[in-house]
């Protein structure tokens, strides 16, 4: 039952990153490549129409995590206190930019909120990646100093950084050079994803140029990916054990690699949607490979005193999980229906669409 809920929450989280990921990515592309007012407007619109229904997925993932793994929720949210709060502010700030931009037809006004939208999208992508890096690297659970825990075994508190930014410290900070690499990978992935979204949903004049951008970013992504694997091996020599023991898990890295390979052919793809599918595979493969490599842990402990937080030692009791399964199935069927209805009615390019107002 724990495994079941773990998979459901992972799926909801991946859907969140696929959906909200494209509007983070659109923000990053907007920041660097949108030059004309028409392009800027249409890119903001392509992100702005859907961002709040995309963020509902984050709320849903949070709610389910809280219900199924309350100890994990408590430990991780309080332990990553500062980065989470910064993420919240960026989410709000980004929304302010998106909503305010179109309110006055006044160049300076639009510039300010364009920057707010672009910069906060950029930082959010980076921070989400850093968060993933932290989960994979592990933390000093129990706040162990000199072999003794300062807190209860499953609690911790991470500073934003430690003095030398090293992941090998006894108590590494949120930002160290390993998590920054993962942050950059996420940033590049979401930028590619956002570019694909813009190509798919708009007739922006930069669409052709964006394909070249995707190609370049994809090369950078390949290098970063190889580099991160090497670094990870140094930090945690056991990082590939799960894949050795259960070879079928290799499907997840394969998904990632096929997305990566596919994007090298971005200019030859027949339909715009294929590019978007490739970057979706990147997100799906990237997150699922990371989770698979630390399974059954959800947050590894990097000391020997306290054990890692796993899906078993942080889960709610059996009764609650199985009751939730009953309403969960009904809920997901309903959700599936809404998504189908919505996508059928709102397909096509944004800028040619008449929304009746």
């Amino acid at each position: 039952m724990e495994i079941f809920w773990f998979i459901i929450i992972a799926i909801v989280l991946i859907v969140f990153f696929v959906l909200d990921g494209y509007d983070f990515g659109a923000g990053i592309i907007h920041l660097f490549y949108a030059k004309t007012e028409k392009d800027k407007e249409v890119i903001v619109k392509s992100a702005g129409l859907f961002w709040d229904s995309n963020e509902v997925w984050l709320v849903a993932a949070g709610g389910m995590l809280f219900m199924a793994f309350p100890t994990f929720y408590a430990s991780v949210f309080s332990g990553f206190y500062l980065p989470l709060m910064i993420v919240l502010w960026l989410v709000i700030f980004r929304a302010i930019g998106l909503e305010l931009r179109g309110q006055f037809d006044y160049e300076m006004w639009k510039d300010i909120w364009d920057k707010a939208f672009g910069v906060s999208s950029f930082l959010l992508a980076l921070f989400f990646g850093i968060a993933l890096g932290n989960m994979v690297r592990g933390v000093n659970l129990g706040g162990v100093e000199n072999g003794l825990s300062t807190y209860e075994a499953h609690y911790f508190f991470l500073p934003l950084w430690s003095s030398n930014f090293s992941p090998l410290n006894e108590s590494p900070g949120v930002i160290d050079w390993f998590t920054i690499i993962i942050g950059l990978i996420t940033l590049v992935t979401l930028a590619i994803h956002g570019a694909n979204w813009i190509i798919l949903k708009t007739n922006a004049s930069i669409n052709n140029q964006l394909k070249t951008v995707i190609l370049r970013l994809n090369i950078a992504l390949s290098i970063l990916t190889v580099f991160s694997l090497m670094v990870w091996q140094t930090i945690n020599p056991n990082s590939l054990d799960n894949f050795m023991e259960s070879p079928y898990l290799i499907i997840f890295p394969i998904i990632y690699i096929s997305g990566l390979m596919g994007l090298f052919f971005i200019k030859k793809l027949k339909k715009d949607i294929y590019g978007f599918v490739c970057s979706t595979l990147l997100i799906l493969g990237g997150i699922s490979s990371s989770l698979a490599s630390i399974f059954p842990a959800m947050l590894p402990s990097n000391n020997t005193v306290n054990e890692s937080l796993t899906i078993y030692n942080t889960a709610a009791p059996e009764y609650g999980l199985s009751v939730a399964l009953n309403w969960g199935i009904i809920g997901f069927i309903l959700l599936f229906i809404y998504v189908i209805i919505q996508k059928r009615l709102m397909g096509g390019k944004i800028d040619t669409m008449d929304y009746g107002h």
Binding site: E55, W89, A95, F157, G320, W327, G331
Partner: protein
């Protein structure tokens, strides 16, 4: 430790107060939108449809605000109240996750369809999407109230040796005797806020002599909905809730009513007075004898325990704040019935649209239902103190063990700054929508 609890509570109070400005409007407004859209389907008068779409634009702004201020609420359970989340998450996580899955998705998906899809869907389906938005928004209220009801009056749980609360009976979360009265009271309060907003916009258009026909329709509807909901708010739902507090949280009841000493033969009802916590009495008190006993138990001489019957540990930790919140809520609620009664009377006599002073009054009344709603929630939350889970888990036992007060103060200041910006944005967006007014589209 003391200042850790203080800042955690202050941050939660600040962020939830700001958050609740938005859902209290959307829940009630969705009902009024469904009413206008339904009336359009029956009567085929375009004006009703224009108003439904106009109100949905206001709804959408509030919904967006509700989403982005709501995410910090969910996060804070983990960030600032980790111990509480760890101990009770397997129970309250159920209702919170259900809110996300059943209500939030429903509301957000169909809101987008309502706003963008009228031409694609046709009128009947458009009405249906409006109704689903209403269902999602009230469903949200239901699940949040179910969560709160469990904290006010815990049911269906078992406590393990390690202090964790585990769910024993799922359905009891929804048959909790605290839930239905609290839910109905909350929803009618939300209808009060939205009908006052609608009436106020109507009065504004009439006074400005702009969008006149729309203005009259908005005002009329606002007054009728406002009158009915303010009455339902006091009776039966307000009365029902007060009886629940008297039954399940007698110490809170004494504190909110301001009864310091138990009277042998029936308790008086306090109208005005300031709690004096040093001398344990009310200063400048105006009270009517025996009414409280009658209202609560329908017996004039029924004894109601005062605060002297409880030990200091059982009493809420901020009695004056609780007492004032309660009296502000009740006082405003009574005034609302009076004003809407008066406006309803003139509406019936067909004189309302010419009563300029009353229209001005209605226009400026808008902040007060918000204040009444928020003080109402303060009554519930301050009244539950010193507990998070009434009688079982103290507030001081629920905070995150590793988050220092310095960090919480830092994030509190951050929230204050960013919510200030957000508040300005909200006023600009709503102001602009109202300024544009309902529009008629030729098909």
């Amino acid at each position: 430790m003391e200042d850790m609890i203080f800042y955690d509570r202050l941050q939660f109070a600040f962020t939830i107060t700001f958050h609740y400005i938005f859902p209290q409007l959307t829940m009630g407004l969705s009902l009024i939108i469904v009413y206008f859209k339904g009336k359009y389907l029956i009567k085929k008068v375009e004006r009703y449809n224009d108003i439904a779409k106009f109100l949905m634009r206001i709804f959408a702004v509030n919904f967006t605000m509700g989403v982005i201020t709501g995410i910090p609420m969910e996060f804070q359970f983990g960030t600032n109240w980790a111990k509480f989340s760890e101990l009770t998450g397997s129970i309250i996580g159920q209702t919170l996750a259900m809110e996300g899955l059943f209500s939030f998705f429903l509301e957000s998906s169909f809101l987008a369809l309502f706003i963008f899809g009228e031409k694609l869907m046709g009128q009947k389906l458009h009405f249906l999407t409006g109704f689903l938005v209403f269902l999602g928004s009230w469903g949200s209220g239901w699940f949040i109230l179910a969560t709160n009801a469990w904290m006010q009056h815990p049911v269906g749980y078992e406590i393990l040796d390690n202090g964790k609360f585990v769910l024993e009976n799922f359905s009891s979360l929804f048959s909790n005797p605290w839930l239905l009265p609290a839910f109905l009271h909350n929803q009618f309060a939300s209808v009060v806020t939205s009908s006052f907003v609608v009436a106020s916009i109507g009065a504004f258009y009439i006074l400005r002599n702009k969008n006149l026909e729309y203005g009259k329709l908005l005002l009329k509807t606002g007054v009728v909905f406002g009158l009915v909901s303010s009455i339902l708010l006091a009776f039966p739902t307000g009365d029902w809730n007060a009886k629940n507090v008297a039954k399940y949280q007698p110490a809170s009841f004494a504190a909110m009513e301001g009864i310091f000493e138990t009277e042998e033969a029936g308790a008086e009802i306090i109208l005005i007075g300031q709690p004096n916590m040093v001398e344990k009495k009310l200063d400048n008190k105006i009270a009517v004898p025996n009414i409280l006993s009658f209202l609560t138990y329908q017996k004039w001489d029924k004894q109601i325990p005062g605060m002297d019957k409880f030990s200091p540990e059982e009493l809420p930790d901020n009695i004056p704040a609780l007492y004032y919140s309660y009296h502000i809520m009740v006082g405003l609620g009574t005034i609302f019935i009076g004003i809407m009664g008066l406006a309803g009377f003139f509406l019936w006599r067909r004189k309302l649209f010419d009563m300029k002073p009353l229209l001005w009054f209605i226009m400026f009344l808008v902040p007060f239902p918000y204040i009444a709603n928020i003080t109402g929630w303060y009554v519930a939350e301050l009244g539950r103190q010193p507990y998070l889970v009434y009688g079982l888990l103290k507030t001081s036992e629920g905070i995150s063990p590793t988050v220092s007060s310095g960090n919480t103060l830092f994030t509190l200041l951050g929230f204050v700054a960013i919510y200030l910006l957000l508040g300005l944005l909200f006023l600009i967006l709503v102001g602009k929508t109202i300024h544009q007014g309902p529009k008629h589209q030729t098909h």
